[in-house]
């Protein structure tokens, strides 16, 4: 499947901004069953691109500097990405979760793909008892890891209400957990915290969803902005598999991954510092459609 992605972000400022420096993680990854065929970022006012690098987790980061005073900043990404993901293994064939946990503890690699990076609490995914207990219900002793993880994905979908009004970026996930509502970002963080509470390795994936449902299927939640889901490590033999708790699905060819990290802080699409005062207003639009080739 080949997609054309258009992702536009507009910042409007109450007071003029003298200068800005930003780091953007917008261009999708070229690994795990997807390939970026082309990509282009355009800034307005125009910017000086100062650096492009690959961060620790393998994400592409573009850094730019805008030296013109401005009250509106538009960042637009256009990308064409091919997605052809292998289906996950039969859950029953994956190893018992305790074995996977001990393998993660004993990992002998510090490479980005090592599960050791994803077993600890992180900035946006602190561990808390109620999440661990919640996860434990799906992980009876000896249960194959992917079975447990799939069940957890479905339970979160069933137990939590999608409600953009319930939380904002600074809402602690323990609070979203208690209220049983939130958005994709909250569900991903909650699932990560729950899995890590058991000692399992789970990472945060930001990405896009196809905007229009495939024929005969329902439209997925989170398609009109950037999406987030979870990647679970299933042992050295199987590696990571992606699960989307917001839509209770295994991530297949409807998802396009942008960046991977321990949590949102590692993959935040646009980070920056501006020199200026006053409030700002944010407007994001995402459009992902099958490429007409």
């Amino acid at each position: 499947m080949i997609y054309d992605i258009a992702h536009r972000t507009i910042f409007k400022y109450d007071a003029p901004v003298a200068s800005a420096r930003c780091a953007m993680r917008l261009i999708p990854r070229s690994d795990r069953g997807q390939t970026v065929l082309s990509s282009h970022i355009e800034l307005s006012p125009s910017a000086e691109f100062i650096n492009e690098r690959i961060d620790f987790h393998g994400n592409r980061v573009c850094e730019a500097r805008i030296l013109k005073p401005h009250t509106k900043l538009q960042i637009a990404l256009a990308a064409r990405v091919e997605v052809e993901r292998a289906p996950p293994p039969a859950p029953a064939l994956t190893p018992a979760w305790e074995i996977v946990r001990n393998d993660a503890y004993a990992s002998d690699s510090l490479a980005a793909s090592s599960p050791a990076h994803f077993i600890y609490a992180s900035r946006f995914a602190p561990l808390f008892d109620s999440a661990t207990h919640y996860a434990r219900e799906s992980f009876s002793p000896g249960r194959p890891i992917l079975e447990g993880a799939l069940e957890l994905t479905q339970r979160i979908h069933a137990d939590f209400a999608y409600d953009p009004e319930a939380t904002h970026i600074a809402t602690p996930i323990a609070q979203a957990f208690e209220r049983r509502r939130g958005v994709c970002q909250d569900f991903a963080h909650i699932m990560i915290a729950a899995l890590r509470g058991l000692g399992l390795a789970a990472s945060y994936v930001s990405g896009y969803l196809r905007t229009y449902a495939a024929p005969g299927q329902a439209r997925l939640e989170g398609a009109d902005s950037t999406h987030a889901w979870v990647s679970v490590w299933c042992g050295p033999e199987f590696g990571f598999f992606d699960l989307d708790p917001t839509n209770a699905v295994v991530v297949g060819n409807d998802h396009i991954a942008i960046a991977i990290g321990r949590d949102y802080a590692d993959v935040s699409p646009i980070d920056g510092v501006i020199i200026g005062a006053g409030d700002q207003d944010l407007d994001v639009s995402v459009d992902v459609k099958e490429a007409a080739i």
């Binding site: 850094e63 503890y105 510090l110 050791a116 077993i119 509470g197 000692g199 510092v273 020199i275 200026g276």
Partner: protein
């Protein structure tokens, strides 16, 4: 140095006997004063005898002098969460360590520093130790100081670790043991230096006779080594501080001054052309090396904690480009975790091919199954801690659990937690700190202590500071000592048998080039000096109005003088300045005057303005002499105390008068003692601008079209120009002559022209950004303003012309700020950066 007269030996030995008669060390922990057979150690005997020879009074005098010196030096610290700094609690007795024992400590600490540096190279490099199974990846990744953006980066200057500290204590067998490693931004070296300066002055002969090792060579080598690591020959080395709210700010200020480093905050730095620069009044200047006291997570908001305001966006990129030496590299803090400690004995064999010379507290990381089982079996003999610092997961606010003190429920909970997430826990042998004598109520008393020893990288290895930072608990039974309320600190004397060469930071073996200009003043410092000058001047003006008002009110009560007009205007002026509340009709002029002086609620009261001056001063404290800092504090204290109680009118006037005297003294101190290239011009610029604006306002208020003899008289009063006026003009106050004196007289140090001339001179002398000789904007304004005032005629002046001058002065102040403090588009020092997303 005073002469030290030994007194009768008998008396002295009786005194020593009395000091130690009730000294009772713990049975199960070693003690510094007595050996395990209960014998007084010889070096302590020698020390106490010498101390006793001073006599009781002599000793008290010395220690009182030491206490005064601590205050004079401004040594202080902050207990976390407290607004006010505390005076430094230096104990009277040093910790004494004989050379033979010290040699082992120093060798052990140097070895450990080298080992940790190599481990950092490996972990952030090709991670061979991890791949070979010697060091589990999870023992690294759990550390909040495993800074992933630094993976694969070659540290500029070639080292991850340049400044390392080890916390030591004696084990039950008397052998020194490492309790903890410090590499993030170790504190205490500056306090050690300050402790030494104070104690060696209090006991100079003792210090000399006992051949105490000097600290200065250590700092000299540290500085030289950073300097060599930088790319340029004469590098600019900066000490990056989190700012005045940091617990150890006082120490950082002292170290920057002692080492000659530029003290900067994150806001002083800017990334430009891929390199880090300091914003200075002469433009952007390259930062070659940074000694950071800001934790790595806060160093670069673009790559770590996006909420940080303490660092600078782009620091990590500058490091990757190899353009800035950072001590220690972000990520070095990783080696502080207890989890790593459990692997060090093995890693030492593997990496260095030798065993640890100083063993650390026995530690077991519970992330490995074999250790986990052992720990659970022996739980009642273990202390359980978080593997990577902070709170013990699952145990609320607790940082440690002693296996022997757990309830059955807690024990079950802990075992369950260790079985589930053992990676989060370490077990250690419980260590009880050993004791050293301290001085309590005229006697020696044993108190537990921990010793921090510092090592600095040199060209070919490590140098260890002979001495250290010793913290002494105020409780007898202690497992850790932090500098919270109640703890003390002691100087640490390493005693040698040979005479010590005198040494300070002064280079002796080379001919230093003579330098008169100090490095370029950072913009933020200039900004704060400027505002300190403005606030001090405004405080003075406010107090002058209050004094003038008070004097007129006093006269009114006694003789029937016509004072109504000027009283009303003076009061109005105070209200217009925000010094007294507006729209409080029931306040009489006396109340207005007093509120304008010592009221805490109005932003323009003398007290509020002095507080602002102090705040600005606190940010540039390292540039101010202790006297200046103290005098500002004194005015604030005086006005605060006075404002807090009921007070009679004469008393109030007296306080105003004395505050004005202190301000005058301050002004004199600043003029006479402040080096002209160290930022004095910015204080003076601030003062001059404020005074010129103030004088314009006075003139508009008292010498307008409706001026009377009485209001002109008040104006002369405010300008301190009564005497000059009377000597020049025989008749009473008349409009044009008074206005001339206030606005245009080039010889009157309070006239507006006089200020304009000084401002213009300062601007002419400040560094220029342009090299084409064309005047910069602030100077263009000042030249014009000065010329116009010089050619103005007093008879023509009216309130609208004066107002126009006043507005031009304000715009000049803005232009000065734009040019020297904020640097236009490259970043504003006084506007808050904020996150985009």
């Amino acid at each position: 140095m005073s002469a030290e007269r030994p007194i009768e030996t008998d008396k002295a030995s009786q005194r020593v006997a009395a000091w130690i008669a009730q000294y009772a060390p713990m049975r199960d922990a070693p003690d510094e004063l007595f050996d395990h057979d209960g014998r007084l150690r010889t070096h302590w005997r020698e020390f106490l005898d010498a101390l006793a020879a001073f006599g009781d009074d002599g000793l008290e005098q010395r220690f009182a002098a030491a206490a005064r010196r601590i205050d004079d030096m401004g040594v202080s610290y902050r207990v976390h969460g407290e607004a006010k700094e505390r005076s430094w609690p230096l104990g009277r007795l040093p910790l004494l360590i004989p050379e033979s024992e010290w040699r082992d400590i120093a060798a052990g600490v140097a070895q450990r520093a080298e080992l940790l540096n190599r481990i950092l190279h490996d972990v952030y490099g090709d991670a061979r130790l991890v791949a070979d199974g010697v060091l589990p990846a999870a023992a690294i990744t759990g550390s909040p100081d495993f800074i992933r953006p630094m993976c694969g980066v070659a540290p500029p200057g070639g080292r991850w670790l340049r400044f390392y500290a080890a916390d030591l204590g004696r084990g039950p067998d008397g052998a020194w043991r490492v309790l903890g490693d410090r590499a993030q931004a170790p504190s205490g070296a500056g306090y050690a230096l300050e402790n030494r300066m104070v104690l060696s002055r209090a006991l100079p002969s003792l210090y000399r006779d006992m051949n105490v090792e000097r600290l200065a060579p250590f700092f000299r080598e540290f500085r030289a080594s950073i300097s060599r690591a930088a790319q340029r020959v004469d590098p600019r080395i900066c000490l990056l501080t989190p700012g005045p709210w940091s617990e150890t700010y006082s120490e950082q200020v002292h170290l920057a001054r002692y080492l000659g480093f530029t003290l900067i905050e994150g806001e002083d730095l800017v990334m430009s052309d891929g390199k880090l620069h300091v914003r200075t009044i002469a433009g952007l200047k390259r930062a070659d090396a940074i000694w950071r006291r800001v934790d790595a997570d806060w160093c670069d908001p673009l790559e770590q904690n996006a909420a940080s305001r303490l660092g600078v966006a782009g620091m990590f990129e500058a490091i990757r480009r190899g353009d800035v030496v950072v001590a220690n590299m972000p990520g070095a803090g990783l080696i502080e975790s207890r989890a790593l400690m459990s692997f060090l004995p093995e890693l030492s064999e593997r990496v260095l091919g030798e065993s640890l010379k100083l063993s650390n507290v026995a530690t077991w990381w519970c992330g490995r199954e074999s250790e986990r089982k052992q720990v659970i079996e022996a739980l009642s003999e273990r202390a359980i801690n978080s593997a990577f610092g902070g709170r013990l997961p699952g145990f609320g606010e607790r940082r440690e659990a002693l296996g022997s003190e757990l309830t059955a429920d807690e024990r079950a909970q802990l075992i369950d937690a260790i079985n589930q997430r053992g990676v989060d826990y370490v077990a250690q042998e419980p260590i009880k700190l050993s004791t050293t004598p301290t001085w309590v109520d005229g006697r020696l008393t044993p108190r537990p202590f921990a010793l921090r020893v510092f090592a600095a990288a040199t060209a070919d290895g490590w140098t260890v500071m002979p001495g250290g930072f010793c913290r002494v608990s105020n409780r007898l039974d202690a497992r850790a000592v932090s500098m919270d309320a109640g703890a003390q600190s002691s100087d640490v004397w390493v005693l040698t048998s040979r005479p010590i060469e005198w040494s300070t930071l002064l280079p002796s073996d080379e001919n230093p080039p003579i330098v008169r200009a100090l490095g370029n003043l950072p913009s933020r410092a200039a900004d704060n000096l400027f505002w300190m000058g403005r606030y001090l001047e405004r405080a003075e003006a406010t107090l002058r109005i209050v004094r003038s008002l008070g004097a007129r009110l006093g006269e009114l009560q006694h003789i029937d003088l016509q004072g109504g007009q000027s009283i009303e205007r003076l009061a109005r002026l105070l209200i217009a300045w925000g010094a007294a509340p507006e729209g409080a009709p029931d306040m009489n002029p006396t109340e207005i005057a007093w509120s304008a002086a010592a009221g805490a609620d109005d932003y323009g009261s003398a007290l509020s303005v002095v507080r602002n001056a102090r705040r600005a001063a606190s940010i540039v404290r390292e540039r101010l002499s202790q006297d200046v800092w103290q005098l500002i504090g004194r005015i604030e204290t005086r006005l605060t105390r006075a404002g807090a109680r009921a007070i009679t009118e004469p008393e109030a006037l007296e306080i105003v008068e004395r505050s004005l005297h202190t301000l005058a003294a301050l002004s004199g101190l600043i003029d006479e003692n402040f080096n002209r290239v160290a930022g004095w011009s910015f204080i003076d610029l601030g003062r001059r601008i404020e005074r010129a604006i103030g004088t314009c306002r006075f003139a508009r208020q008292f010498a307008g079209d409706d001026a009377t003899v009485e209001t002109l008289d008040a104006l002369l009063d405010l300008l301190d120009s009564q005497i000059t006026y009377r000597s020049r003009y025989i008749a009473g106050a008349a409009l044009a002559p008074v206005l001339d004196m206030a606005m245009l007289d080039p010889f009157n140090p309070r006239s507006v022209l006089f200020q304009a001339m000084r401002i213009d001179e300062h601007l002419a002398a400040l560094p220029a950004l342009r090299d084409d000789g064309v005047m910069e904007r602030p100077r263009r304004l000042s030249v014009k303003l000065r010329a116009e005032l010089e050619s103005e005629d007093a008879r023509r002046l009216d309130t609208s012309i004066i107002l126009a001058f006043e507005q031009r002065l304000m715009s000049l102040a803005d232009k000065i700020a734009e040019r020297y403090f904020t640097h236009g588009a490259d970043g504003a020092a006084n506007s808050q950066p904020s996150r985009i997303a």
